[in-house]
Symmetry: C2
């Protein structure tokens, strides 16, 4: 058990963005679990998914629910806090403490809104790199994450290979397919269509909760699978079908989506949804952008790529392609497809299989380091 945790804030002056613009006065909120050893070679960076946060494990005071990957992070767990120093930060552009469109622009004293510059996955990684530098870590034992977290892992591999001993991209892609872009775009359009969105200047007033809730509902369908929905809801009714169109959420699945949408608007910022989803759509490290040829000798980088059978949003073929490219370029890469019916959500749910794979992978990488 990690027990009680508190988020910390790392602040820095400026970040030159991929767009050519500059962002100033940046906060990155992060949490750490376990201790950094003297050689500073036991650090693992955890990257969170679209709607995640720095709170990956442990509890905040008075909270009943732990961080989003608590079953993977802690003493004796996959990311063993007895052995490793584990870091997780909220992404740039996010809304859980790090600087994003809902933050106060010091120049105006108001929230950024659409004045916030467009950011990329590359910019997120750049901010994370500054945090790692600040913590005095030259080389991470590993970087790991699922979904958009996996895309950040890929960005780290491409942009800071010298700072990585290993990497674990899970349920990720080197680039979004048009179908993935399409789902994101409909979600964005739902937010933009909400009259309360007001071109992003809704802070202090009514928030665009209907649009944001719709966006989340669409997302949730894509995070599950046909099979997992059948298992969870079938055609069960929440309220008796009364053949009246106005009935509220007749089918259980309708009530579930509505609940997910309603709770999401309480914890997530609509503009962050726009900016972060756009960053995912822009992301493309495929082709010539992907990793240099591994040096014939002295290459000790290790990669574990994980995908899930029923994940139709980030289908296994996208992860297989990552593994294929790595192998073609001479890297030690292992690809594992986990049998699961949970769809894209599997990376949060199939923790037994993930634990087995990741524990032994990290162990090996760590041991190899000790032998040097």
């Amino acid at each position: 058990m990690i027990g009680l945790v508190k988020p910390k804030t790392f602040s820095f002056d400026r970040l030159d963005l991929e767009s050519g613009k500059t962002l100033e006065d940046i906060d990155i909120v992060y949490e750490t679990y376990g201790s950094l050893n003297e050689k500073k070679d036991n650090a693992v960076l955890i990257l969170h998914a679209f709607s995640g946060s720095a709170h990956a494990a442990g509890y905040y005071e008075n909270d009943t629910k732990p961080g989003w990957w608590d079953n993977m992070i802690g003493p004796g767990k996959a990311f063993d806090s007895d052995k490793y120093f584990i870091i997780c930060s909220n992404v740039l552009g996010g809304c859980s403490g790090s600087t994003g469109p809902a933050s106060i622009n010091k120049k105006t004293g108001k929230e950024y809104g659409l004045d916030f510059p467009v950011i990329t996955i590359g910019d997120m990684a750049k901010a994370q790199k500054k945090l790692i530098d600040f913590l005095g870590i030259k080389k991470l034992l590993s970087a790991a994450g699922g979904s958009m977290g996996g895309m950040q892992v890929l960005e780290w591999m491409v942009s800071y290979p010298e700072s990585l001993r290993s990497a674990i991209p899970i349920a990720a892609s080197m680039r979004h397919s048009p179908q993935q872009i399409a789902f994101n775009e409909v979600a964005r359009q739902a937010i933009i269509a909400d009259a309360n969105w007001k071109k992003g200047s809704y802070y202090g007033g009514e928030i665009p909760k209907t649009g944001l809730s719709l966006a989340r509902m669409i997302g949730h369908i894509t995070y599950m699978s046909d099979k997992s929905m059948e298992k969870k809801f079938a055609r069960n009714l929440k309220n008796k079908a009364d053949y009246s169109f106005e009935a509220d959420s007749e089918f259980e699945v309708e009530g579930y989506l509505k609940y997910q949408g309603d709770s999401f608007v309480k914890r997530f910022d609509a503009n962050s949804y726009l900016y972060i989803s756009k960053a995912m759509d822009y992301f493309d490290v495929s082709g010539v952008n992907f990793m240099k040829q591994a040096p014939a000798s002295g290459n000790d980088m290790r990669f574990l790529i994980i995908a899930f059978e029923s994940d139709w949003l980030y289908p296994p073929y996208q992860s297989e392609e990552i593994a294929r490219q790595l192998k073609l370029k001479g890297y030690d890469a292992t690809y594992c497809e986990i049998k699961s019916t949970y769809g894209h959500d599997s990376f949060l749910l199939e923790t037994d299989d993930e634990t087995r794979l990741i524990s032994s992978f990290l162990n090996r990488v760590y041991r190899e380091g000790l032998q040097k």
Copy 2:
């Protein structure tokens, strides 16, 4: 070539609905192609999909585009108008001529809006049965349709088996899975969330076009496949990515969806979207509701069930289940899965394969009738 066609209207006094309510003064708009023979045994009923209409083939005066299944209906085509008398009507609850929520309620002199009673696929078939009776047809040579059209075919099989010689449900399901319901529900919520929807009383004023357009965009993603989207759009840009969030439709796929949404609102009624999608979600002819055991002798019903490999909205397993149930109950049923990358849209696009299958199937059924 069918050439120029004109829609006709069949009107009747009342329809007792599955909900227990009654609808009065009903118009059903329909088109016919070819001629009914003297024995009146060459009639084929075509059932349209969610957003279809009675205009299945031929051209309206000054139109540049033919009906929605023109490549399947006409002299020498799958539904050969030289041999068969082909009928297609707009569904009850629709917005292309048949009575629906946008029609004038004679009692009030105003559009029904939400006063329109909830309708079911069973009610649609009941209205079609009245049309068939009116045309003097006792037994249809066949009933055929894709998607919601296929669901109407299944309804005909269950409710009016004595009026069918054969049936061709394409890319259909005996009932919606929770995933199918979920996509429909998000689309409905998008319409309902539009401030212009005004609980369905928007006629004569601004229509809820943003919500309806969003609904259609969601639908369109589900009608295509990951592969077909990759082939059609890849990650091509419509406008140069300028790293500015406000840019309009950067990716081609975004522009395509927007275009599809924008054109849909010009031809479809938002309330019809709500009513018809609800009818699809209610539909369930599975289990004990599905077809009686075929009589051991004298059963001359024939079934052709077609599905498409890449259709993830109405996955092939749903069609296989139809065929399995029919065979279990002693019917002559053939199941064909067509290889296609077009997803659910395949039923409108894979007309070569469909033509081969349907032509020979209908030929056989027709010949068997002549031999009696």
